[in-house]
Subunit: 323 residues, 2 copies
């Protein structure tokens, strides 16, 4: 085989025993379990907008799937299948091998099968649609936060945005904040985010609402508030930071990265106060730390308070490709 | 709302009563019927590769969905839902309104609901994933053609490829074949192909194998032969032509368009001889003409015969983006 068909066969066909029919026909055939809902999400990553053209191909393949798995995590869904649409300026077998390896390694680690796709010539663009399952009626939606709920965040915030700022450092006066070891830790978070799939599934029946933090903590929590018709008060000092950023919490560019940087791929979720111990046990079982940082209130809007109870400004409320 | 979120709300949110949860959360929630298999396909259309940058936006929106609906037709699936991933160089509200109108009009005509998506900045690129349903075990696959089957084609072949050649006429010595009325008919087939969804569903239980003709008749029938491990003999004179091309069957560029032009979005399918009357009745009920043009044989490869029984050469076997 040669050309497009050979390219798919060489790089993107591996066993998919969970599909009734995988790559190679007009469409894939899949069976959704009885009592389950299908969960579907799509992301498009464009060279120059979402990643630098010289990004390591293996990390790029991994990240393209990771951001979609993060959407499954935010619904509490188990990922099952994915399709890949790939536009390439030209066929570069070395690049493709590395890209496919990164994608496949994470896919197999998360029991996600590639069941279809499309490859074509064009500016480097990666479109992934991910399909998962959740028990009927139990998905973690954005619109179910309740006054009195705690606000929780998984992992740590701001690392990816600080790494990106330092990579773009020439343009930012205070971007050179990190020493080499700390920068490497942050860059790892930027290039190889860990989707919180196990945590999402563990929160079924416990959390009232959830979202993944891709646009920035304030913007994404804002989506929960808007869709649920509630307000929130969050203690800035309680937002979880990595060791790399722990001493930099009050640097202006780090403040910005923590509350509005995005690309964290952590979960922000709300759960009743009565479920605190259960949430902590679920997080322990999932191997993902979680931090309680605020509460849901009746009303509208997000209040971010410093240690003295003063309101911090939310100057820029998150990433918007057409803002 | 403004920017990305406003853009989605203004153009791409319309009622989706068949979804449990549609646009606006981390993912959509869908229920697949009992006894049904989920059918999933993805296509990526890139400006400059699949369409000209100045293509009418409404027709482009329609066609982007039509080519995906055609994949559902080729499986005998009823389309249910779609997701849209759209990269845009800039926000052009007039263009977006027209694009969304074209997409929505066809989606609603085919009972297909838009349940998710992603918009971002980048070179104009359209990624659609389509989800449908088929009764378990009944999908029209590529790998089930049997020796003795008839080979059938829906509608007519070559129109789109001849229109495209004429649009690119400056480069092709014999491209100016059509008068204005015939060109308009062919251009309509290029820009507004009619996915054969009703025919595909009507063929369930009758056809043994099916594919949609996107790469070219010879290449796509070739996929059925390869996957089924069979051969075929087809009479060139019996391939169905539109009135626009009927008098041009033996023009070299038209021969090429008919057998290898692609972009037809017709169905090529095989069915037992015993089902001839039922296939014709099903096509009549679906409102789509079908033509019997050959037979499946034991062996390997496709033989295309002229009226005297001589073998026609298959010089170029279809479109390949990386051939």
């Amino acid at each position: 085989m040669s050309g497009e068909f050979g390219l798919i066969a060489r790089h993107f066909v591996w066993p998919a025993p969970g599909a009734d029919l995988g790559v190679g026909d007009d469409a894939a055939l899949l069976s959704v379990g009885a009592g389950m809902q299908l969960v579907v999400s799509t992301d498009l990553l464009v060279s120059g907008t979402h990643f630098l053209a010289d990004t390591d191909a293996q990390r790029l393949g991994r990240k393209a799937l990771a951001v979609n798995l993060s959407d499954m995590a935010a619904m509490g869904a188990r990922p099952r299948w994915a399709t890949l649409a790939l536009a390439l300026p030209a066929v570069d077998e070395t690049w493709l091998s590395a890209f496919a390896l990164g994608l496949r390694t994470l896919a197999q680690a998360q029991s996600t099968e590639l069941v279809g796709g499309d490859t074509t010539r064009g500016p480097l663009t990666i479109g992934i649609t991910i399909l998962g399952e959740v028990p009927r009626g139990q998905a973690l939606r954005r619109d179910r936060a309740q006054p009195g709920d705690d606000v929780w965040v998984s992992g740590t915030l701001g690392d990816a945005a600080v790494a990106l700022a330092q990579l773009n450092g020439a343009h930012l006066p205070d971007a050179q904040l990190l020493d080499a070891a700390a920068f490497d830790q942050c860059r790892q978070r930027l290039e190889a985010p860990e989707p919180r799939v196990a945590l999402g599934v563990a929160l079924l029946g416990l959390a009232n609402a959830a979202i993944d933090i891709s646009d920035g903590f304030a913007a994404d929590l804002g989506h929960i508030l808007e869709r649920s018709g509630v307000a929130a008060r969050v203690a800035y000092d309680r937002l979880p930071l990595s060791p790399a950023l722990a001493g930099l919490r009050f640097e202006p560019s780090v403040v910005q990265a923590i509350i509005a940087g995005g690309d964290d791929y952590e979960l922000c979720f709300t759960a009743p106060r009565s479920a605190r111990a259960q949430v902590e046990a679920a997080a322990l079982a999932a191997g993902t730390p979680v931090t309680r940082c605020g509460e849901i209130l009746a009303g509208v809007g997000l209040q971010l308070l410093d240690a003295d109870g003063h309101t911090l400004p939310l100057a820029r409320s998150g990433f918007d490709h057409f803002g």
